[in-house]
Amino acid sequence: MTLALPATEISAKLETQFPGSLVDSSGNTIVVKPESIFQIASFLKNTPGFDFDYLNFITAVDYNTYFEVVYYLVSLEHNHGLILKTRCTNRENPTVPSVVSLWNGANFQEREVYDLMGIKFEGHPNLKRIMLWEGFQGHPLRKDFKLQ
């Protein structure tokens, strides 16, 4: 059974390592500030005991007042998982650091989130639309994008 790592245990470690970067933690979900997502992801990937070597998926949710970017991290070695989230309140220009340099599996998925949700991933090697064509107006998965 993929063990859902208790967030309280990890958040205590993160709090000492990266003071002030934690927003919320409950169940097996940790919410961190967008500016520290790369450092925390890197810490979770490279710290023995966590070893989150496998990025299962990346997605984003539009909660009207903020965007939530969701990362599901898995360790194939220890068979445990963790949901890592970050929130962007800037609707005009939401920006999150890219994690492609940690997990190459993020490459197309970040492009998909950028294309459909309009979140920019800073440091992405090739951030352009993937499903829709260049020149398409808007980002369809946003709640204010109405279907015709």
């Binding site: 998926f57 997605t59 949710v61 993020a106 998925q109 459909l116 499903m131 998965l141 279907l147």
Partner: protein, 367 residues
């Protein structure tokens, strides 16, 4: 005298027989050798994730059928699993067994297609593929018997399945399951000892273990690279913890290993189906679920080992009848991440075979 040379760009697709759909690869070539490849997606993008937000939970099952249309039953299973997690719904025993039988049949059918098309791409044009189609046809007949459909089954329901199997189903399934191992063995013998097949697949398109993990690859492609990771074992869903089966793991990670994985997995699926048939109890096939389902606020991720890799659904509920967010973790799309790693430096004739060995379905890549 020196010749001036420059890289040459070739488009494979979007209309190309080897892409099994609409997909384009932009090759930059130096002679016959690939310097770079850029996949171009989106020709089949229908906006399923957005459309699903406009319909209720039960209606959304039909969208999942239309993602990877070669594995509709598995897609149904992943989606209803996520909804059941979200709403805390129990599934009756008999329905769980029916689901296992259907999804394992689906796996056999999908792997038959993969192997057939792989050989097609190797130049064994159509003959092996049509043998595979013949065997797949029998699975489709079984599905037709169960739910009246041959492609988009829409058989699984939230909390159960749409209908019980008819009386003649189990004998027909038994006849099929008994005949299948002989067919696979015969076929495997004809092909796996074929000199041309071995030369074109062994030690070509090697995917290293670390690259596979780093690129979030899943399913037979990941296991061919030597990673023992199968959601049915790692995070058992449904009733998979009750069955005795092995997870085949490759050692080299080349095209041949990926071919091997599919052949072995078909044998394992037969083992699971046999056990499921023997253990299946009688009883209810559908638990009591409100006609208009309103799961409590929250989120859930349900994932299964689909034939092509890990297929998952991340659902967010705001307490209404429709999902607030409907995200698919598409195995085909994410597996394509390794294209550049696999294809750079190989000859263009091998690129098509490598692409076939990853096994994707464009309906799921573009959604």
């Amino acid at each position: 005298m020196t010749f001036k040379t420059e890289p040459f760009v070739v488009n494979a697709g979007p209309q190309h027989p080897s892409t099994h759909g609409l997909f384009r690869m932009r090759f930059t070539l130096d002679g016959e050798v690939i310097q770079d490849v850029e996949p171009v997606f989106g020709y089949l993008h229908r906006g399923i994730e957005k459309l699903a937000e406009g319909l209720n939970y039960t209606q959304d099952i039909v969208f999942t059928d239309r993602m990877d249309y070669l594995t509709s039953m598995s897609n149904n299973q992943a989606y209803v699993l996520a909804v059941e997690k979200l709403a805390g719904i129990q599934v009756p025993e008999r329905a769980e067994y029916l689901r296992v039988i259907m999804t394992e049949l689906m796996r056999i059918s999908s792997h038959l297609m993969t192997v057939g098309f792989l050989l097609n791409e190797l130049g064994a044009f159509m003959t092996p593929l049509l043998y595979m189609f013949r065997e797949r046809e029998k699975i489709l007949d079984l599905f037709e018997m169960v739910c009246g459909q041959r492609l988009t089954y829409n058989y699984l329901r939230i909390g159960g399945v749409s209908q019980d199997i008819p009386e003649e189903f189990l004998p027909a399934l038994k006849r099929y399951i008994d005949s299948l191992p002989g067919f696979i063995a015969e076929y495997d013998q004809l092909l796996a000892e074929n000199e041309i097949l071995l030369m074109r697949t062994k030690n070509i398109g090697i995917l290293k273990r670390e690259t596979a993990i780093n690129c979030s690859v899943s399913g037979p492609v990941l296991r061919a690279s030597g990673v023992n990771w199968d959601i049915r074992k790692a995070d058992p869903y449904s009733i998979y913890d009750r069955f005795d089966f092995d997870v085949p793991v490759g050692s080299v990670g080349d095209i041949y290993d990926r071919y091997r994985m599919r052949i072995e997995e078909m044998h394992q699926s037969i083992r699971i189906i046999k056990q499921a048939m023997a253990q299946m109890p009688s009883g209810e096939i559908q638990s009591k679920v409100p006609r208009v389902l309103r799961p409590p606020k929250g989120e859930a991720y349900g994932h299964i080992e689909a034939p092509k890799g890990e297929l998952g659904f991340y659902l967010v509920s705001d307490g209404s009848t429709n999902p607030y967010r409907f995200h698919v973790r598409p195995s085909s799309f994410i597996n394509l991440q390794v294209l550049r790693e696999l294809m750079t430096g190989v000859k263009i004739a091998d690129a098509i075979v490598i692409f076939g060995s990853i096994d994707i379905c464009l309906g799921e890549v573009d959604r």
